[in-house]
């Protein structure tokens, strides 16, 4: 772990100059193969060394029903799906109504519809000055749609052609994908080739990849892979949208690494098993969403009380109870930071995107193993469910290692000596190390007690972990934009992708994103806030949880809150509107400089 003097924000904004990018959207119904088409396009792009990301939208049902993908391809790394649709392929206009807000046409957009589709386009979609193109995607008999050539293969040919991709790129991707299903493969390739010959489409901006193949990964896969690289050896979980793929990925990969995966009977058992495995000395993790985190809360307190490392990933979704399971939100912050009865220390981290998940999971395990407490990692549906193209992940030669007790160490498991923060962990099987781990308050050697003085001293010792973690993590922040930009945005988690691009288009802004939310890097925030004339917090939470939380930690007077319920992620046009409604006056960089001069 790095130790940096507090108050020093060391990160230089590493925003790549914006390369050229294109946004492609495809909308249809279950069975049209929209999701597969999106995956194929992304993997073909990755193969050429192009970057990009894909988000999928569903109707109200998770399985079946309407389905759409929005895909952004770019010459540089992106973690935001863009807000202007350059090419929209829609198999059925009636399906569009479910995707309000996910796609927006502009002046030069290419819009492709089915030849037999006479439906109206919704007003919110916007318009293009280009002529609408029509292709016979659907096969009809007596006016009714019947099974025909695969629409997604026709669209694949059309989009690949528009992008200027060589025809064999898509064929290679199909062969890779369907090598085990030769009949399907030959039918798809046939339809793809026929469409390639028949369909004409205007050429779009030509994107040039760097030629070295890149990886495609979802946020949930990245969390799983990051945990594996950090030494994870035990996982227990319970299926829940939008986190289930963390468990599914680990089912495929953890046993081969010598670890164990259990699908538990519920989330209480899932975290219980994690606590049990970690009591056994093994780095352990669970992943869930908000409803599961609620069930895990008592066990989280136990892990902290008994000083057992545990990593808990929460892929936040919208709303309490069932809410909107496939939609994103940032509204579990209060629960992560404050949830639980009694006083207990825990650490809370926030994931930015797929790339970040790799480093952040390592950091999560480092904190859990070093400080013997629960560490929550807040992801969300927007990060978890996206597919993102990324470069190589950091190579690691070591993994976090718990401080292990030997017979030379103190006989007391929970020694209250001086300002000691943690004590060596006793791994079952070690001779002479037997002890009682307990959720009941205990003395130094684990003996249950109801001595109030002991409770006070034990709380003091357990809570000593937080300032120690704060020292280690003082620079766990990411900042973007010019250091003297007058307007500031404080945000967290998946706002990263949008804000990284926002500062490029709006140089009067700078951005502060903490990687760690508890303990919050307050000194770094204070240093970053110097010279700002206007500041907002930005989040997807109806209550403005992030703003309220920060207000409880530091003076936030004058900092406005931009907070709305989740569902759709924030887009750049929406942010522009919200900022202009929130901030008092239009502030140009020159007037900002003047304001600053005046202030000094």
């Amino acid at each position: 772990m790095s130790t940096t003097a507090p108050g020093v924000t060391t990160h230089t904004p590493q925003t790549a100059a914006t390369g050229r990018s294109l946004v492609i959207a495809v909308a249809g119904s279950g069975g049209d193969g929209v999701a597969l088409l999106g995956d194929l396009l992304l993997s073909i792009a990755a193969h050429q060394g192009l970057y990009g990301m894909l988000v999928q939208s569903y109707g109200p049902q998770i399985r079946g029903g309407e389905s759409a993908v929005v895909l952004r391809l770019s010459e540089t790394e992106v973690a935001y799906e863009g807000d202007q649709t350059d090419l929209l392929v829609c198999f059925r206009t009636s399906d569009l109504k479910r995707f309000r807000g996910s796609m927006h046409l502009h002046e030069q957009s290419v819009l492709v519809l089915d030849s037999g589709d006479e439906g109206e386009l919704p007003e919110w979609l916007g318009t293009t000055s280009r002529e609408i193109m029509r292709y016979p995607f659907a096969t009809r008999a007596a006016g009714v749609e019947v099974a025909g050539e695969p629409k997604n293969m026709m669209a694949l040919a059309l989009i690949a052609k528009a992008l200027g991709w060589a025809p064999e790129l898509a064929e290679r991707a199909l062969e890779e994908r369907f090598a085990h299903r030769p009949h399907l493969l030959s039918a798809d390739v046939k339809a793809y080739r026929a469409a390639w010959v028949q369909l004409q489409v205007p050429a779009m901006t030509r994107l040039t990849g760097h030629g070295l193949p890149l990886e495609v990964e979802t946020g949930n896969e990245a969390v799983a892979h990051g945990a594996l690289a950090a030494g994870l050896r035990f996982f227990a979980g319970y299926p829940i949208t939008p986190s289930s793929e963390v468990m599914e990925t680990l089912l495929d990969e953890l046993p081969a690494a010598g670890g164990t995966v259990v699908q538990a009977e519920d989330e209480i058992a899932a975290l219980g098993m994690v606590v049990g495995a970690s009591f056994g000395g093994v780095p352990s993790m669970t992943a869930t969403s908000g409803p599961g985190l609620s069930l895990m809360t008592e066990m989280m307190g136990l892990a902290s009380m008994a000083e057992i490392p545990a990593v808990i990933v929460d892929c936040q979704r919208a709303g309490p109870a069932t809410g909107m399971p496939s939609r994103t939100e940032q509204s579990d912050l209060f629960h992560a930071v404050y949830g639980g009865h009694g006083d207990f220390p825990r650490a809370v981290l926030g994931v930015f995107d797929v790339v970040h998940a790799h480093t952040l999971m390592y950091k999560a395990f480092a904190l859990a193993e070093d400080y013997q407490l629960p560490v929550l990692v807040l992801s969300d549906a927007y990060v978890a469910q996206r597919r993102q193209i990324r470069g190589a992940t950091p190579a690691r030669s070591t993994v976090p290692r718990r401080w292990r007790w030997t017979s030379d160490d103190s006989p007391a498991r929970f020694k209250l000596k001086g300002d000691q923060v943690v004590t060596p962990f006793r791994v079952p099987g070690t001779p002479g190390g037997t002890y009682l781990a307990a959720g009941i308050e205990h003395t130094e050697d684990g003996t249950p007690t109801s001595d109030t003085n002991m409770h006070q001293r034990m709380n003091e010792r357990r809570f000593r972990k937080l300032p120690a973690i704060a020292l280690d993590t003082a620079d766990w922040v990411r900042t973007f934009g010019a250091a003297d930009a007058p307007r500031g945005i404080i945000a967290w988690g998946s706002m990263y992708g949008l804000l990284r691009e926002w500062v490029l288009a709006h140089p009067e802004y700078r951005v502060f994103l903490p990687e760690i939310l508890l303990p919050f890097p307050l000194d770094a925030l204070a240093a970053w806030r110097k010279g700002l004339s206007e500041t907002v917090t930005l989040e997807l939470s109806h209550q403005g949880q992030f703003h309220r939380y920060l207000s409880s930690l530091t003076d936030m007077s004058g900092v406005r809150s931009i907070a709305r319920s989740g569902g759709l992620p924030m887009s750049a046009p929406e942010l522009a509107t919200l900022l202009s409604a929130t901030l008092s006056s239009a502030l140009s960089p020159t007037s900002a400089a003047a304001a600053e001069k005046e202030a000094s």
Binding site: R233, F234, A236, T260, V262, A264, E265, D266, I268, A269, A270, G272, M273, V274, V275, G276, A277, S278, F279, G280, G281, V282, S284, E298, M299, L302, A306, R426, P428, G429, T430, P431, G432, G433, T434, Y435, L436, A437, A438, G439, I440, G446, T447, P448
Partner: protein, 249 residues
């Protein structure tokens, strides 16, 4: 090694004459018989009078939270298969708040021994009805639920598919020692139902009444026969002994 070598220096908090003393003794005896070294032993419990037992055995012990001993023990056993892992608890911990975990622990068949001291009462919280409280029990305050039919723990685990099911009595030490020993030796999930009284919240003579209401598993009983085991468990009296032991493949 003597059973006393497996005891910590802690004095049990139990009332004098509590059946938990019997379980503690029977368990340390069985573990001594099997020569389980303290560092290879894990004792996991939830919350309740009997769950305090974890602190009295020299082991990697965990006195956790109410009803959750089984998942914690499962995680430990899967990550440290070399540990002999014993779960102890009471009827409230196991059959009320923790009931949801039992059939799944049975299904997973992780090599755990689960000993439940069943005194038919919530002792630690002072005498409320538990899921095994006899129907229409009326003994003062806090007896909501006593009008409900009690659960039968043995039928419950048998019907879930448990591979090892035995019953004993906390006051019947040599028998309890033997049942616990066999359960620990069984290489899968093993359940031992231990009948006991509560000297404070059950009437005088309750524990003796249980014993009088019991009978030894007949010699003719075939413990590998599930039908016979179910029939034995359905007997309104308590069959004491090895009720079911599924042959391992």
């Amino acid at each position: 090694m003597r059973p006393a070598d497996l005891r910590t220096e802690l004095e049990p908090v139990w009332c004098s004459g509590c059946g938990d003393f019997g379980v503690l003794k029977g368990l340390t005896q069985a573990l001594t018989d099997l020569e389980v070294a303290p560092e290879k032993l894990a004792v996991i419990s939830g919350i309740g009078c009997s769950s305090r037992l974890a602190g009295y055995v020299k082991a990697y012990a965990f006195n956790s939270i109410h009803g959750r001993a089984l998942p914690i023990a499962t995680g430990l056993k899967l990550s440290r298969p070399e540990m002999t892992t014993v779960v102890v608890g009471g009827d409230g911990d196991g059959f009320s708040i923790g009931l949801g975990h039992i059939p799944h622990a049975v299904r997973r068949d992780t090599d755990l021994t689960y000993a439940v001291l069943d005194n038919g009462i919530y002792g630690l919280t002072k005498g409320q009805a538990s899921p095994t409280t006899e129907r229409d029990t009326k003994r003062g305050r806090g007896m909501a639920g006593a009008e409900d039919a009690p659960l039968d723990p043995v039928l419950l685990v048998l019907s879930s598919g448990c591979g090892f099911v035995a019953r004993s009595h906390a006051g019947h030490l040599p028998h309890l020692r033997q049942m616990l020993r066999e359960a620990i030796q069984y290489p899968g999930f093993a359940f031992v139902h231990v009948l006991a009284g509560c000297v404070t919240y059950q009437p005088k003579g309750y524990a003796d009444g249980l014993l009088e209401h019991s009978f030894p598993v007949p010699e003719t009983h075939d413990p590998t026969n599930l039908d016979q085991a179910m029939n034995l468990a359905r007997d309104p009296r308590f069959a004491l002994g090895l009720i079911y032991k599924r042959p391992r493949d």
